[in-house]
């Protein structure tokens, strides 16, 4: 069981080493010439007028909430799909009922305008 993941662990170690090596190389090799104007964040030639850290459109957070709902639905579907051919008609009808309930949820969000972006 654990031996299966040995390859994953080795690949992870090597790819981390590659990535960290790249970042280290670019930090060490490049020139370092900094002065106050250059260090400012880019803002089309202006000084930064507003800080980026402020209130943001709620739409983005709504999408995150919807994502959790529907991704969990997908998680439930994965084991069912693998076993589907053994479950037969019972499994199909069971899952259609489950999908219908979620479909109603999706319709509700849709009708209430949760999926609209202007």
């Amino acid at each position: 069981m654990l031996e299966q993941y040995l390859g994953v662990a080795i690949l992870m170690a090597i790819s981390c080493a590659i990535a960290i090596g790249m970042v280290t190389a670019t930090t060490l090799l490049g020139p370092k010439r900094s002065f106050p104007d250059k260090d400012e964040p880019f803002e089309c030639g202006e000084s930064q007028i507003v800080s980026p850290y402020q209130r943001f459109s709620v739409k983005f957070y709504l999408v995150a909430v919807l994502f959790i709902l529907f991704d969990i639905e997908a998680v439930f579907l994965f084991p069912w799909a693998v076993l589907y051919q053994r479950l037969g008609w019972f499994g199909l009808i069971e899952m259609i009922v489950f999908l219908l309930i979620l479909g109603v949820g999706l319709m509700y969000v849709w009708v209430r305008g949760g999926l609209d972006w202007e």
């Binding site: 390859g7 999408v63 693998v82």
Partner: protein, 369 residues
């Protein structure tokens, strides 16, 4: 507890695993990532009737502009690493790593050939043959989202933050669709192990494209959106957000985001090939036929298997290259979608369609039984 027993068998397996890892890294980091930067420029040049990428030369030789790869790499190493004022220096440095490592790590479960019997030893051309294969791909690939979001957030820049918010919303939206489109494939083949899905497609008419045509189109769309390439490149829209989440990146850190993108293109090509285009199989030719063709008495079965392995790995990567070509062509053909169109496509079209696809697949499988 004895977790690993250091027997001969284990050492051979370890050696093979290291060989496979070496091969995968050589192919992705060593070959595809640099060559694709050139392919992208050259293909766009051809499509737009330009000459393109032909300036870098060594002693007058340009080699079709292939030396641009070396020039790009040298330039990126020599550039100043810039971190803006007020940025979170730790996260700013960390995020390219978080973006690049998952792109490489997904290859741990992607098979690039079948199982071959070589000198009494079973060789399975996948680094880790996990039974949760596809779930592993999704789990690891979605970790890259953190890299992009953290990159934008830590830069203390308005454009970066806008870009990273768009990235977050777009990537999680299309992750749902991607997960649901795959359900149909799992139902048909009854396994999540990628090498078993590939092996199940030896017969041409059992290829995923014939069993799940709608699933294929939706998966390709969702995965291009997941990789944030045109027409889904709003997170880095040059004409609106300067460069999106990597506005404040320079040098190789900037290059790492690009590397991650190109390696993800290879991943998409590989997954699509395995799920829908028969993996390493040649249409109408079974693996046993290839082995028999080369199985001369003076060569021995192992050599025949080795030749077969070479052919099938070649076929697999040829198919991957084809899907990279498709992605490049789409990128240079279509204009960028508006953000509301992207969200509408994901939530209002692809999501309901993938649910319908699941139900239809289920009914058809039951009726055919």
């Amino acid at each position: 507890m004895d977790l690993f027993s250091f027997t001969d068998e284990f050492l051979i397996d370890l050696g093979l695993t290291l060989l496979k890892i070496g091969f995968i890294l050589a192919v992705t980091v060593g070959f595809f990532a640099p060559v694709l930067t050139w392919v992208e420029r050259k293909q766009s040049a051809i499509m737009q009737d330009r000459i393109g990428a032909n300036r870098a030369d060594i002693m007058g030789f340009t080699a079709l502009g292939l030396f641009h790869i070396i020039a790009d790499a040298l330039k990126m190493f020599a550039k100043e690493d810039f971190i803006p004022q007020g940025a979170n220096r730790l996260l700013h440095t960390l995020s390219p790593i978080i973006a690049l490592v998952p792109a490489l790590l997904t290859f741990a479960v992607v098979p690039f050939g079948g199982k071959y019997e070589l000198w009494g030893h079973q060789v399975n051309l996948v680094i880790s043959d996990l039974d949760v294969g596809l779930l592993f791909v999704f789990a690891i690939a979605s970790l890259a989202t953190y890299g992009y979001v953290v990159a934008g957030w830590s830069s203390n820049n308005n454009w970066s933050l806008l870009g990273s918010m768009r990235t977050a919303s777009q990537m999680i939206s299309y992750e749902v669709t991607m997960g649901l489109t795959i359900i149909g494939v799992l139902m048909v083949y009854g396994t999540m192990q990628l090498d078993e899905i590939g092996a199940a497609q030896e017969n041409f008419w059992r290829w995923g494209i014939f069993l799940q045509p709608v699933g294929f189109l939706m998966f390709l769309t969702a995965s291009i959106a997941e990789n944030k390439r045109i027409p889904f490149d709003n997170p880095e829209a040059e004409s609106e957000l300067v460069a999106g989440y990597f506005t404040e990146y320079s040098g190789l850190k900037f290059g790492m985001f690009f590397m991650a993108e190109f390696i993800e293109m290879v991943t998409i090509g590989a997954i699509v090939t395995i799920l829908f285009f028969g993996g390493w199989h040649i249409p109408f030719i079974e693996t046993q036929d290839i082995i028999d063709t080369f199985n001369f008495s003076w060569l021995g079965p192992s050599i025949a298997n080795l030749i077969t392995m070479g052919i099938q790995v070649g076929v697999f990567f040829a198919k991957v290259c084809f899907f990279i070509f498709i992605q490049m062509t789409i990128r240079w053909t279509l204009p960028r979608f508006r953000y509301d169109q992207i969200m509408k496509l994901g939530w209002k079209i692809l999501l309901p369609l993938s649910l319908v696809n699941i139900v239809v697949t289920g009914i058809v499988i039951m009726l055919l039984k």
